[in-house]
Amino acid sequence: MDAAIEAHGLVRHFGSVPAVDGISLYVPRGSVYGFLGPNGSGKTTTIRLLLGLLRPDRGSITLLGGSPRDASCLAQVGAIVERPAFYPYLSAHENLRLFATLAGMPSAVGSTAADRALGVVGLSAVAGRKVGGFSTGMKQRLAVALTLLRDPTLVILDEPTNGLDPAGVVDVRALIGQLARSGRTVFLSTHVLTEVEQLCDRVAILQRGRLVAEGLTSELLEQGQRLAIAFDTGEEAGRASRVLADAGLEAEAAVDRENTLLVTPGRLGSSAVNRLLAGNDLYPAELVLRRASLESVFLELTEGV
């Protein structure tokens, strides 16, 4: 598949501290790509590198087939990077029109594009108000509007729901869904795991400047799923634990239920585990596949790294 973003071996230090340490990314066109990581893990620095705002110490970046410093490539990109930045003494509409003019749009086209973008994020009613008086949430919506101004092919969003009220969060998530359905590539950096779980088909997890996991969201969630096997007695559970260990499967006692083991079925699958137990005269009272949340996968991958 053609890549919207391709990065190889990105390294960037601030002083002697590596903010980004050997990251490689492949973001397919048309995908919604989640970029996860705790605060300070290097997400924003990576985005700045991708957009050509910072120069990497090492590594290469291709954005929509070109260089991130190439005007024709950047013309197809809409981006929010960290906090929204606008001219406080200009109105929302004037701010957007200014950037439209800067992008070379004729005045009438820029004005129409500004109206449209403000309408999409629900700011039409305050289009004439000075941005200096906007709340954090309104500025965040305006930042989203700015990303849509040039009808981009690739949308890079760094914490787009920061500062939004619950209704705003829902709106922005719906908007990201719309963008994805319209065939655009969305690169979503966030630490809100539910956002990624709901929206992204691929995900990368970053910790201390390094990628600790990357792949399809469904695969990552599968990696974290557990088989909960409940027995009637503790004696049965103990015996089952030994049988599973002999078969190379690690079982741990569930903390939320008595006489229950949690097993990662791995390649074997649930039915093979059931057969193995039955072959040893062990018959579970209940056998349930517990889906992992992205949160548990994330914590497992990032804790202690």
Binding site: D70, A71, F86, F99, T101
Partner: protein
């Protein structure tokens, strides 16, 4: 480039600091001129009733000379130089503030990031901003010069008997030091042009500091610190150096600007050239052409550095 100039117009036209400077500086210059003109129109002198009869003719001549002398700066074309000189400090500070503000705010507001993403050609962007800055300084300056040209019509100061200045009254030691002869239009404009150089240098220096230090306040403070430190170091070197080293302080920006203004005032007949920095121990006079060439290198060097700094800047705002 056109889109950049248009975008800058959208940005600049709503800024109160720009409006205040472009309209306020000429207003301030006019106010200062009018205050001076009113004062010059009413010179204080002794009442003739208090003067013994044998001295009355001499005192009357002195009063006439003082009146003519005080009125001289308010006669066209010298009024142009008077108007511009009266607002030099404000004009230079305003030019420096404008540059620091229009460049530094992009960093403190973080808007430079959007600018670079919407128009990655940083050099053209800075070129457009420089064009607007120079334009704003020129418009403000032209307004001050135009006011200087028409002010004598609005506020007329009668010089009385100007021949009193040439009848030996000045030799009596009662007049303050200063020129008593006429000033040509070319001379007045030469002084005005030298002050414009001062304003442009202030703009270039503060703009560079704002770009490098990434904020308006730091830009103004940085430029101010540079001027103070350069002045102290130049004075120190001037007082200690000997041989060819005496020429080193003459390369300093502030020294060259002051020398340019001094040369222009002497050429225009507004100053005799005595006093000021030229009387400092260790002062070496450079030919005006050499001085102007050094200043040109400074101005273009500072503006060139704007582009180098922004081109190499990493945008982490």
């Amino acid at each position: 480039m056109r889109s950049l100039l248009q975008a800058d117009w959208l940005r600049i036209r709503r800024r109160w600091d720009v409006r205040i400077i472009v309209l306020g500086i000429p207003a301030l210059a006019l106010l200062s001129y009018v205050a001076g003109a009113i004062s010059a129109g009413n010179p204080q002198g002794p009442s003739m009733g208090e003067v013994p009869p044998q001295y009355q003719a001499q005192v009357a001549a002195q009063v006439a000379a003082l009146r003519a002398f005080s009125a001289l700066p308010y006669q066209f074309p010298r009024s142009i130089a008077t108007m511009v000189e009266g607002t030099t400090t404000w004009l230079v500070l305003s030019a420096a503030f404008l540059a620091a503000s229009l460049l530094g705010n992009e960093f403190s507001w973080g808007t430079i990031r959007n600018v670079v993403l919407f128009h990655p050609d940083r050099l053209r962007y800075l070129g457009a901003r420089l064009a607007w800055l120079v334009g704003l300084v020129l418009v403000t300056f032209a307004a001050v010069v135009a006011l200087g040209a028409i002010a004598p019509v609005i506020v007329r100061v009668d010089p009385g008997n100007t021949s009193a200045l040439t009848q030996g009254s000045a030799d009596m030691g009662m007049l303050p030091p200063g020129p008593t002869g006429p000033v040509s239009l070319g001379g007045a404009l030469l002084v005005a042009a030298s002050l414009l150089c001062l304003a442009l240098a202030g703009m270039a220096l503060a703009g560079l500091a704002a770009l490098k230090l990434r904020s308006t306040a730091s830009g103004i403070l940085g430029a101010g610190m540079y001027v103070v430190v350069e002045g102290i170091v130049a004075a120190l070197v001037m007082s200690r150096a000997s041989g060819d080293l005496r020429y080193v302080p003459q390369l300093a920006l502030t020294i060259r600007l002051t020398a340019l203004l001094g040369d222009a005032q002497v050429a225009a007949g507004l100053s005799t050239g005595d006093g000021g920095q030229t009387s400092s121990p260790g002062w070496v006079a450079l030919p005006p052409v050499v001085g102007a060439a050094i200043l040109t290198v400074w101005l273009f060097g500072l503006l060139g550095l704007w582009f180098v700094v922004l081109r190499r800047a990493e945008i982490d705002e």
